[in-house]
Symmetry: C2
Subunit: 205 residues, 2 copies
DNA sequence: GTCTATCCATACGCTTGCGTATGGGGCAAG
DNA sequence: CTTGCCCCATACGCAAGCGTATGGATAGAC
């Protein structure tokens, strides 16, 4: 019932602080739940502060989305950047995908608001970048263009689906050792070490 | 700009018509977009009609969710019910999963509103029922309890992720023959005909 | 000390949507 | 014709949230 944690503004609020708070609300209650006045109460200030830092509500949402996109891009290169083996890169992606619960909720919440045109472009870029990264991993493993695209889509769909399951039915997502087995199974299946010899293999061109 | 299609109410409106219209709005604009007065305008009537059929807005949302759950349950048994082969049952599930675009959007939109306690139980039941169905398919294929749970979760995650990709980045989801190849690849990978002999196989107990 | 820019509070008007109260039109029963 | 019921329209009060206008407070510049 109490409005989360009405922190006192120890010093001047920055625009990034507003954007970060907006992302927090999005992760918790969805994109449409971002309102100026409740957010101000949450930060211990009033609207007067907000409309000094931002033009209007849409400007805040845009700033939050930019911050989100930047964080996603930084993560994908920072957490698994210096890894020469493409196999291990995909493995690390799997681990990282299920690592940050908040990041997963954020993606699902933002993607669920794709009817707003502003959101659509951000989600597209982030999603395309991730699948592109996976695509290059499979290419580096020796897959053809066509099969790499299929496997990258396949693997990415599994990422997304696991996020969804973890959010909607967390009791069906195992923990501990059983979860490790589950991840191991998916990695083993989604990263065939040698390309399959038949139709879905990798023809030279 | 125009409010969709303001149909004239040829005869008496039923509660189911309101629920169906609510589902349409959910699929198009998300769960929070369901408002009484816009919905009434959409149906060519006023609030006076609504509050005769329903106690309040929550009652409409509940009715819509019940209608959704019923439709999902009917679909899963009607579209692939009389199929003895568990392998073909999973294959049909894959086809059906990507068949109805609207059903996919509906699931994603409703699941994205799981912060509302009312929604959560519905999503849980539908999702658990689907995974249970998949689980039984894998069991019928000879998988152990543990591995069947893993493969069912794996396959369901892939379903969900493909829905998400098709909604967020439809240009990355192939069409026509290439889509068929994609589906064939997933089926081949997600339904190993003979259970693998090693660790993730199916020990007798 | 004064001045100015920065950051925020307060107060107001406006719109949208929820819920209620009340009345009215249509239609079948009597 | 009148009565009663079903379905809906109209009108109202209320709350929440957006955006604006304006003033106040604080801190550094000079």
């Amino acid at each position: 019932m109490s409005p989360a944690a009405p922190v006192e503004p120890k010093q001047s609020l920055t625009a990034d602080a507003w954007a970060e708070a907006a992302l927090e609300v999005i992760a918790q209650s969805g994109f449409d739940a971002v309102a100026v006045e409740p957010l101000a109460r949450r930060l211990g200030v009033t609207k007067g502060s907000f409309y000094w830092h931002f033009e209007n509500r849409d400007a805040l949402l845009c700033a939050a989305l930019e911050r989100w996109e930047r964080a996603e891009t930084d993560d994908i290169v920072a957490r698994i950047g210096p890894e020469p083996d493409p196999y291990q890169r995909i493995v690390k992606l799997f681990k990282a995908a299920n690592a940050s619960y908040r990041a997963g909720r954020l993606y699902l919440a933002i993607a669920a608001a794709e009817d707003k045109p502003m959101v659509q472009s951000f989600v597209r870029r982030v999603s395309e970048r991730r699948m592109q990264y996976l695509f290059e991993c499979y290419r580096a493993l020796g897959f053809s263009e066509a099969s790499a695209a299929h496997w990258a889509r396949f693997a990415y769909a599994t990422f997304m689906g696991n996020l969804q399951i973890g959010r909607d039915t967390p009791e069906l997502m195992p923990t501990g050792a059983e979860f490790s087995e589950y991840v191991k199974l998916m990695i083993k299946v989604l990263i065939p070490r040698e390309a399959p010899p038949d139709d879905d293999g990798d023809p030279p061109a």
